[in-house]
Amino acid sequence: MTLDLPFIWAGLIAFAVLAYVTLDGFDLGIGILFPFGGNEASRNLMMNSVAPVWDGNETWLVFGGGGLLAVFPLAYAIIMPALYAPLIAMLIGLVLRGVAFEFRWRTRRGRFLWDAAFFAGSLVAALAQGLALGALVQGIKVSGRAYAGGWWDWLTPFSLMTAVALVVGYVLLGATWLNMKTTGEVQDRARRVAMPAGIALLVLIGIISLWTPFLHGYYYHKWLAFPAILYTAPVPLLVALAAYVLVESLAEQRDHLPFLAALALFVLSYIGLSISFYPYIVPGAVTIAAAAAPAKSLAFLLYGAVVLLPVILGYTIWSYWIFGGKLDPEAGYH
């Protein structure tokens, strides 16, 4: 039996991107919520709830980008120039919010600057990722082995919609994370944000889901034509279930369930996207098989991934476990 290496790698890269979106999602969400976090002690707590893990979360983005270069170099070479402006904006946003984690403890007079950088950087990164996602779903012009579109192709009504949706989604993740990790006033505030954010996200997911099939006949046939709809119907049904759990658990003031339900919404939306993409990696233009690097490259990196990814997951879970439970407002090393 021979392994379908490109398919395995498409799955691994997809997993890395999903890990990034969900993990960095909640800490970007906290950045977006930061200015609305109340007094300084509350905001310190918000930041400290993600300070030990944000760096690991962001490493999934490096893995997604580096992995794409390694195993789908053609896709990397087409997508990166196509999404040039949003990607550069995302990187600059991530620079600003990343340094804020340390910098804001190193000054008192200038702290407000880094608090602003933490917020603005997180918001810009989230918007840019949403724009990039929307542009990718909408399709990229390709000629030969290169991007062939213009410099503003990424900016469309659809990509603006996905950008707003991703920001709202990250806010929901951040709010439900805080609900899980904190008590008292910070938790109360997080709950008040989570409910409207959850409802707004569901509406936006609905709009995007109904919009997507009409972008391309290709998506339409996958989602709405019979009999394909029999295979794809479970996804929206599960979204409805997750939505129900989210709203119920928030109403019942549960600690963990809202975060898990928000994660489920992300995972299901992501599965929906993957169904739309497959078998393409650049929708409508380049398939997974066509973009794949030679088998020797795929196999070489797969040996490492088989051994190292479980180890990485192991110590990542260990690290989350160490910093698990409700946060102690007095703890910190700064």
């Binding site: 760096d55 030679p294 490259s297 703890a331």
Partner: protein, 470 residues
Amino acid sequence: MPHLDAETLARSQFAFTMASHIIFPSFSIGLASYLAVLEALWLLRGAAVYKSAFDYWKKIFAVVFGMGVVSGLVMSYQFGTNWSVFSDKVGPVIGPMMGYEVMSAFFLEAGFLGVMLFGEAKVGRALHFFATLMVAVGTLFSAFWILSVNSWMQTPAGYGINAQGQYIALDWMAVIFNPSFAYRLVHMVLASYLTTAFVVGGVGAFHLLRNSANDAARLMFSMALWMAVIVAPVQIAAGDAHGLNTLQYQPAKIAAMEGDFSTKPHTPLILFGIPDMEAQTTHDKIEIPYLGALILTHSLEGSIQGLKHWPRADQPDATILFFTFRLMVALGFAMLGFGLWGAWLRWRGELHESRALQVAAIIMAPSGFIALLAGWVTTEVGRQPYTVYGLLRTDQSLSPLAAPAIATSLLAFVIVYFLVFGIGIFYLLRLMRRTPGTSETDFDDSGPMRSAGRAAVARLLQPPHISAAE
């Protein structure tokens, strides 16, 4: 003004973002190992001075590492945004190596950094030391892979070309352990250690000048001087070996570094001169006969090929290389001299008494960074006009981008980097001004707030974060 085409702009952007990036990981490679040594000494010997030095540098490490992470993230996307043709063609070879770097190094560092910085009270001493060690190991794994990638671009080996025109690996061991890799890895890791040692020594000296009895400052100063006297000579030997390797695989780079345009018997060493690429000659030369031959071929009768041997379009820029190379070498010998001076004073039992040595240590504190950047410019500009030496030309590696798009992003990076890293370096200097071994605060700008905003009122009501931590 030079012609600002897309290639020049993309190269400027890579050079600028890379130069800004490289100083942070080099410092973190050295600092992570130093922290692991300090914590090990603390665990073994129990003396509080190791712990206070550890805590002192830990905070500095956190800031340096943070800046390294965010500037490194930019690099991992830069290949695709500005050099997409390069990525498509070379991705199958260098991509998997960078994938290994992410999996074996970045995750390891990030996964254990949180425990190292925040988890001391939660995991106990032994596990905490393990976390510190994993961070240090992670930085070294990272150096291994990225230098393998860099070396492959300098001295490609073990590759083939497929039907789509992509470079593919035929033999991974030959790709990873390509001809210049071992030399470059040793040279770079030693450079990181020396860079860190001179910063630590400079900070120790600064505090010794204020109070020569400060235990932690004495420890830092002493450890740094051991590093200088041991590592500087090893580094010079490693650099010499690396140079010989370069002569074998990239002779044009050596010719440019030496300012040798014409091939001469028993090559002299040009101590100083001004290489002129247009005229293809070096003006105002001060030469030492035979010495170039002796250094480069280890024989008086040797000779190296002059730069004119290669067509003008294939020559690296000798004007840049000649000076950056000399700057690096001069700093290397200054480090050696400083190390020997310290060793002599140590032998006489006066290591901590000499104010002249302390002042010199402060002046030398940034020397590692300067040498590192000079060396990096030498090797990378020396690789031109290729991205992959001899195989893929730089002007054929570019993304299909218009110059204004690259100019805009370059401008954005320049503004943001100067602001962010400029202020970051200021914070680092302020952290280094804290007296080691005391609970002096990390910042001294905590004057009264001029505006009584919500945050200011809250601060009056809440204990500041800092007092909870110290």
